[in-house]
Symmetry: C2
Subunit: 258 residues, 2 copies
């Protein structure tokens, strides 16, 4: 793989800066070792730990996790800056209690791993992140070096369903217009499809792919790429209330991509 | 609604030029009437007809369709340039015969509508469009003024499933890299999630959200926003065959948004 770009090693989304990298595999470390930075600069590496999320990261319970951390710390030109665990499994929670259980577990496992590092003479930063866990932090999180609060600043409908916030806390809207009256189908057509708002909410809300602000009886039933079909949750639509050009405010299910 | 932008009337995606508009409702025509173009220029209007697609358009069988066409033709500053029917219902077809049935029906209904127009002294262009119908055109389509062939130039996996093309005809790939070995889950992690390739294929393919070129046993099982999880359709993954940095070519299910 010599001569391959850095994107061969890790997702572009995870490269925070040219010298900062998240990694979870010895092969990625080996690639950094082969590409020393100039002028005496070091690669700043965050070890990604999987504390139950099940996406990226080396499993916290895997002995390889400690081996990899030591290898990072001992590699010339590379610095173990920190350990990071994303607790995306908090997205499966409903309510504060469940969220705090995940936050507690992730924090405890991360801090236990920091203790193992300390026992072999390694000190570095510790960090966890997810919107729900940072919305309802547990006391032990104060022992971490930092937290990554996700889309805490904006929130979305998904976060209100999880219990991170109330629907009133969501600060993002996607503005759309009524562009068609499909009376024979009892539907409005809007100029927002899945190019404008994520399909990620599919089937997870009684109001379809979004909440339509101020219109609790409206449902964003289905979307094609450019269009959305809106129908009433029940009853006949009063089309005179929605002339062509009417603006509707969609509160997105998942906001990170908007 | 005076002073409202043109987007109040119709989807930006449907505004081909500042003086060309697709419409399907008398209120939209009224808005054009209120906004005459300067220098003697006319609005060029395509009437959108629904010939069974069920998205936008005035129903071909609705007497209002002819009334609206006449109103367009008679409005000062507005010209009825043509009639357009999108036969997106061809996406529900499987195989040439079903596609040609939809193509035939849409063409016949559009041409019948043109005859009705002719009977009241109106002549204008006629047009239909969809990738499947233009891939397997029927003879009667030669009587139309034009066709809109969709993503015919690129194709995608969806079109191969419909029968518009073979998988070998698809000219688009999304390049991704293996960025993680999740041995405990028998999965590879890739740096392509639903920000990079549409969720539109969800559950419609045995290989998940895409076809992975040259790897018929691999399945793009699930995606988060930035990551994809790839697992074998059966058996244990041989991770040594997919070192970090391995490039995989995804053939997208739906390509219009790539």
């Amino acid at each position: 793989m010599d001569g391959e770009p850095l994107s061969a090693l890790c997702s572009p989304a995870l490269v925070v800066d040219v010298d900062k990298v998240l990694l979870d595999h010895p092969d990625a470390l080996e690639q950094l070792r082969k590409r020393p930075l100039r002028d005496g600069r070091q690669w700043h590496v965050w070890l990604k730990l999987d504390c139950g999320n099940g996406r990226a990261g080396v499993l916290h319970s895997d002995p390889e996790a400690l081996t990899l951390a030591r290898a990072i710390a001992e590699t010339q030109g590379v610095q173990l800056t920190g350990v990071y665990a994303h607790c995306g499994n908090s997205y499966n929670c409903r309510g504060v209690e469940q969220v705090q259980t995940v936050a507690q577990d992730t924090t405890s496992l991360t801090l236990q791993f920091m203790e193992k590092l300390k026992a072999v003479g390694i000190t570095c930063k510790s960090s966890i992140g997810s919107t729900p866990s940072c919305s309802h932090p547990v006391k032990e999180m104060a022992q971490l070096s930092e937290v990554h609060p996700g889309n805490y600043v904006f929130y979305d409908v998904q976060q209100s369903v999880i219990g991170s916030c109330s629907l009133e806390d969501v600060a993002v809207r996607v503005l759309t217009r009524v562009i068609g009256h499909c009376c024979h189908r009892n539907q409005l057509l809007i100029d927002c499809g899945w190019s404008g708002i994520s399909l990620d909410g599919a089937g997870k809300l009684p109001t379809g792919y979004a909440v339509i602000e101020g219109h609790p009886n409206l449902k964003l039933l289905s979307m094609t790429q450019e269009h959305g079909r809106v129908e009433p949750a029940s009853g006949q639509l009063d089309f005179s209330k929605y002339p062509l050009g009417t603006q509707l405010m969609l509160i997105p299910y998942h906001v990170s991509n908007v």
